[in-house]
Symmetry: none
DNA sequence: AATGAATGAGCGTTCATTCAT
DNA sequence: AATGAATGAACGCTCATTCAT
């Protein structure tokens, strides 16, 4: 599964062949089919697992423990950073596969659950009068789009990661969506 | 070429077959090979043309005509919006193909030129003390990432486009990168 | 299609690979797929064509032109002999594939039509009081079973074909089903 | 071995996979290879056993105990009926596999022995001046062909089996080969 | 210049066979 | 002795590319 995520993230679903996955995983090609019905089932299983892990990371922080929106944002942002740092390929895999034509209903559902979780936070912030009154999807897109592009640059080495940088970026993202 | 961009944008490079492009373009499959050496040459030509058009759109606005950074940002943002509105598929095509394994040196170069153009603006803004002192690539990523995610949502109909929305989003993006 | 019939007849559906058909037909493997959606479509098309040709041969003799059952049997038997002689492989192909799990509805239907045609003749003979009052299917099975086994032996060279032999066999088959 | 015969009879040699046989037999796939060198050895062992059982059934009736050919035919026919009734799948298995490309020399030999046994009877009948003076193989083909087609129809339920029917069919088969 | 039938390399997948447990 | 996970050769099939028309 690691080999598959890596290759899918690097080259995309269609350009990743089952034999290549098998090679990288150092197993026979047929072995993969003992665990996954086919290539599509494999990519869906991986996608669901990645999102699940990401979602669990969010939920385990219990963002409802504080009502301060800025504080909540800080916590959420750091979950994202943690995930991005420890699961570089997973994040990239999610980014590049979340709208693939091969995703099944379950994958789409869990991805929607993920977006809904983020939406909840945004909605709460808007109710508190702290966040812009734009559509929640738009605010999510702003933060998530910025974040994922940024970590792509970090992954390929264009930008050097550092605590200061991440703090500043958090501030930028916060400034993007808060009311001025 | 229109047919090719459409299909590449919709399904990705690897899932788009040359016969399908030929069908959509209402020509024979062989005809495509009179104009492009192979599928890779085709996608590169398309990519270069798209970026070139985008870049020209930016350059034709002569952003150097004013020194006010906010004003420049406004102009640039509206070039992006115009491009996104009039070339929905091109923007999506760029987004999904800009880090493809099939891009040749020239494509990578022109994409770099495009990023460098944006970088120039950022750099100028930082010199003027108006923009955050983060790496220019990071600031670009924030704005561009937010922007492209947003227009993806608009393209697939999740968000309804409107002048007010776009103005607000411009403000959000500006808030993300300016100094507070 | 000739190559395919030959190989299917010789080795059976499952043991006949598309590459082998292509080799025998001296075409590329992909070429077959320009004319048939898949291997199953190929075997069905062949089957339907074979039965159709057989059925047409029967119908063109206008067996209704005489009411003498023995005379009709003579005509029908000679159609079978003609077909068997001129389409050795087709007959074998029909025999070995008529109850295959890969046959589609249309193939089953046309084979049923073929049996129904023979049944008509039998039924007529029974009405005339000339043929045994066994189920028509049984009488067909007797004649057709005997006939096809016989021609199998002829095909593989165990028995030498001759006019006298065939006349005698016709007599045997007739004796099998007529009333004594 | 029962599981294997069933599956071979139902779907044919090539369409029957070793794992499916193992499943049906409720053993591990590897276990089969402790008893048979490979799939081909398995099908040959089964074939030889089936023919052997069939042949033994014939021989145990001691057809030489009477010299009356019609009486002998009656006995032989009933051995065939008994076998067909008690070993439906075996008969079908023999029918569909007796000219398979996977049969080894021993299988072909024992099948030949089986035919030779029938031939003996025919030859005796011809000597007695009771049976047609056609090639013995042809007479066997007529009776065996008719018989096996008939039991196929009985197996799949097209014809309802009954003592009267079988008696009539015996008479038909006898009429087919006796001298008139 | 344009075509599309033909090609065959390479895909996703299956399954006879092996072998560590 | 029995297992079933693992294997990889070979299947059915697709499609980028060629070339005779």
């Amino acid at each position: 599964m690691n080999a598959a995520i890596l290759l899918f993230a690097e080259r995309g679903y269609d350009a990743t062949t089952v034999p290549k996955i098998a090679d990288k995983a150092q197993v026979g090609a047929g072995t993969i089919y003992r665990y996954f019905e086919n290539k599509e089932a494999l990519v869906n299983a991986l996608f669901q697992e990645c999102i699940h892990k990401f979602l669990e990371a969010f939920k385990s922080t219990k963002p409802e423990s504080t009502t301060d929106v800025r504080q909540q944002f800080h916590v959420l942002f750091h979950v994202m950073v943690d995930y991005a740092e420890n699961n570089t390929h997973e994040l990239h895999f999610i980014d590049t596969h979340c709208s693939g034509h091969y995703l099944d209903e379950k994958s789409k559902q869990i991805f929607q659950d993920f977006l809904d979780f983020l939406k909840n936070f945004i909605e709460h912030g808007k109710e508190q009068g702290v966040l812009c009154l734009l559509p929640s999807d738009a605010l999510i897109a702003i933060v998530y789009g910025a974040f994922s592009h940024l970590f792509k640059l970090i992954r390929i080495g264009v930008i050097q990661e550092s605590t200061e940088l991440l703090d500043s970026i958090e501030e930028c993202c916060w400034n993007a969506i808060r009311i001025h």
